[in-house]
Amino acid sequence: MRYIRAALARIGGVFTKDRADDDLREEMQAHLEMETAEFIRRGMAPDEARRQALLASGGLAAAAEAVRDQRGLPWAEGVAADVKYALRTLRHSPAFSTVVVITLALGIGANTAIFSVVNGVLLKPLPHRDGDRLIYLRQSMDGPGGGNISFSVPEVREFRKGAPSLGWIAEYSPWFGTLQGANEAIRIDVGLVTGNFFEVMGLSPVLGRLTRPSDDGDGVPAVMVLTHDFWTRHYGGDSGIVGKQVRLDGTSVTVIGVVEPAPWFPDRMEALANMVISPHHLSALMVEGREHRMTEMIARLAPAATLEQARSEVAAVYARMQRDHRDTYDAAAHYRVAVMTFKEALGEQARLTLWLLMGAAAFVLIISAANVANLTLMRGVRREHELVVRAALGAGAGRLRRLLLAENLVLTLLGALFGLGIAISGVRLLTSLAERYSPRASEIRLDIVVLGFTFALSVILALLLSFVGSLPKEGSFTAAIAAGARRVSGSLRKHRLQRGLVVAQVAVSVILLAGAGLLTRTMIRLSQVSTGLKTEEVLTIDVPLLQVGGGPSVGTDPAAWFRALLQSDARIKVRYDQMRREIAALPGVIEVGLGSSVPLRGSTARFELKAEGKALAVGEAPPRPDLRTANPEYFSAAGIPLVKGRAFAATDGQTSGKVAIINQTLADRFFPGEDAVGKRIAWTGELLKFSPISPEWRTIVGVVSNTQDGGQDAPPRPVVFMPFAQELAMGGVLVVRADSNVANLATGATRIVRRIAPSAPIQGVLTVAQIKDQSVAPRRLNAALVSSFSILAVIIAAVGIAGVLAFSVSARTNEIGIRMSLGADSGRVQRMILGEGGVLLIGGLALGVAGAFLVAGLMRGLLFGVGPHDPTTFIGVAVMMAAIGIVACWIPALRAARIDPAITMRV
């Protein structure tokens, strides 16, 4: 109580200083007079009495100072005075301050922006209740598409039984359906979930309720929970939607609630529904088929269980599973299950890229800080005189250090302030980058954690900067003052430090440049990869009309279901044909093709394929090509070159013999060195039973060249095309080729599609150039970011070299003058300074190349078509840095050469 009271009184004392000073003066004056009166009463002469009284007081000014220290908060007032003084000093050297603040702002801004992404995507706790106990399991195998093959229901069942550490396991499977609106339909991504899904996930509703175990199984009403994002985007956040019925893939579904914002994985989801919506998910095949893997698994650790326990239990269960079902888990394909935290799974794709960017930003900050340190050092030398004077007036080393710290704090905090400005504008760009890598991009924010990071960074920088400009030792001041010195110099040490900083700057710049070079070359390589298409002037309109749904329900007649499907398919094909003809009539259109899939995009339909007379080797997995359909004009409209045989013809109709066209990759796989045309292939495998695709033999009539369907950096996949007319219209994509500027056709073509199929979901209207661009865009952004970081670094480093040399020249003006008057010509002086810079440059280059060699190895996963130790890049980077460095050395060298000995000697 007493201390609180005293503290409050002292804080109050800060603000009542003036009045209290008057009071104190009067009080002490009274004291003095009373004492004087007393001395007079004892018989002293008035003057003597006053003198004695003053002597007894011990000095009024010192006493007032002592009282003032007791009164307020001397420490805080000292800091305020320091800051005030620092601001004044910095105002007096505006050039220095501006350069430092800008340099720091760039460094701090870059780091703040990148850190906000790292924090939002990788570090921040998940919004889920006890999110760190959520576990994601992933089954994978060797071979294309084997990265995540998800689980089958029987597999999940065994984990549930055999791994008690996974206290609760929820299942969900990504699915999509057409949501019928009043005017138009849209295709939405839906997660089909078990009733316990939200309970396991630890998510709460913002409206209505979420699914629960009573929503499981057959014969229950279909219910759907909207994700927060979809609810706000599509329904405008209308709370009236809860309780309403909507039509999803022709089924009536009740919207029961809206779930709080959360990241969805592995794909984005717009709604989560119970399994009853898709009869397929309740079918025997789904429930009993061990190889029918469509289910993702999310688990919550049992209380007191650890991730390690879960890992070993899962491994044990999985090993037993593989022993019991040897035919299902082909040993050659290395089936495996990874157990990781959900948070780790969410950040997996973004991790490498983000740490790369964070590293690049950190390097920029190191270079900026080194530059500022150098500037501070130089300024420190010029200020030595001032510091000596201050020391002479009684400032101790501690006091001077505090003053320097105040100055540096003002600089770094100003830098941080401008840096935040840079970060705010950068975060939006970075969020769009992060969206490609992480489902958590929407969580990126300049929040309190990020601000704290920025603040901590500024304070640490200020502390470091205050200690590089080492002050002379306490004792040495006295000597310097006594000698009347204008300078105290620890010059050699400082010189070494400055040079070390320049070497570090060059080295770090080289590392950044190398990274930027590798990423840029990766990007160039990527865009050089041929898409496989002959032209980019192609517009694609993805408009699926057929609603296949999940297949026949349990207990219904599959044949009846299939007949109904065929009827609607026939109607739909008429409409596609009408669209095709009308778009073909638009001016400028050369050709319109029709097929199931967008060129340069992967397709989800894949089945096992066999070739007539070709037996698989033992242990060899059958190929699972992409299944696509195309009409006769599709290949020429999309610009897919025909390598052999013929394209489809109008005669390849419903009633004629089944034919197929395969791509080069598949031809090489099945018929190496043979002519594939005329051979026969057929779809096969357990999954086929459940699709409307027939297993009959199909004759290959043509081979087309490969296209980059999995993105520019992916190896081409095997593909089988079947005539659009011979199969169900499982997808519908119009491919429009025009003579020029095909993008201009988009509006007109979309209008035609809208008119003919008013309720159809138009998935995307994109030109081939745009599709190609989308697959390169993330890499381009990577390369652009790292490149701009490295350019920034190089500029700062160049300024650093030039600055240090210029300083060295100005410090050595006298020496150079003497040298010149003793006969050194200007060329020689120039060489001397160049040599001085050259040594630093060579040191930095050597260190940098070595460092880049190490760092580049970590980047391997981000590169394409170029090795991490690509000699061309490394040589190019070294030459570029050397060239810039030499230019930076030349400027001060020229200045040194122009020194007039006559003038310098006179000084």
């Binding site: 004392g13 104190l24 002490m28």
Partner: protein
């Protein structure tokens, strides 16, 4: 002239409180005189020691100050004990006695150990 001792840290507060307890309301000069007299002029109390100590006691709420006319009609700041100050005086006095006893026991002439 004999060297006068400076007041030991911590004891001055106790002396001030005791002085005000005995003499009632008093100004700074009076307090200083009284302490010096009580110490038989062995202590010297300059302003730089006295006034910060007074301010500290005031901040802690043990004494309160007000401006009044002094005996020779001059405006002076008079200090008086508060209730809290009285309690503090009792506490500090007790503690001081205890400490003094303790130290006395330590410094007592050694008895021969048989």
């Amino acid at each position: 002239m004999a060297e006068k001792r400076d007041v030991k840290q911590g004891t001055l507060a106790l002396m001030i409180l005791r002085t005000l307890d005995v003499l009632g309301t008093l100004h700074g000069y009076g307090i200083a005189r009284r302490i010096e007299e009580t110490s038989k002029n062995r202590l010297s109390l300059n302003y730089g020691t006295l006034y910060p100590a007074l301010l500290k006691l005031e901040q802690e709420g043990f004494i309160k100050a007000e401006w009044r006319q002094s005996e020779n009609n001059r405006r002076a700041k008079f200090y008086a004990l508060t209730a809290a100050g009285r309690k503090q005086l009792a506490r500090e006095t007790r503690e001081w006695h205890e400490t003094a006893d303790l130290i006395a026991a330590f410094l007592a002439p050694r008895k021969e150990v048989p």
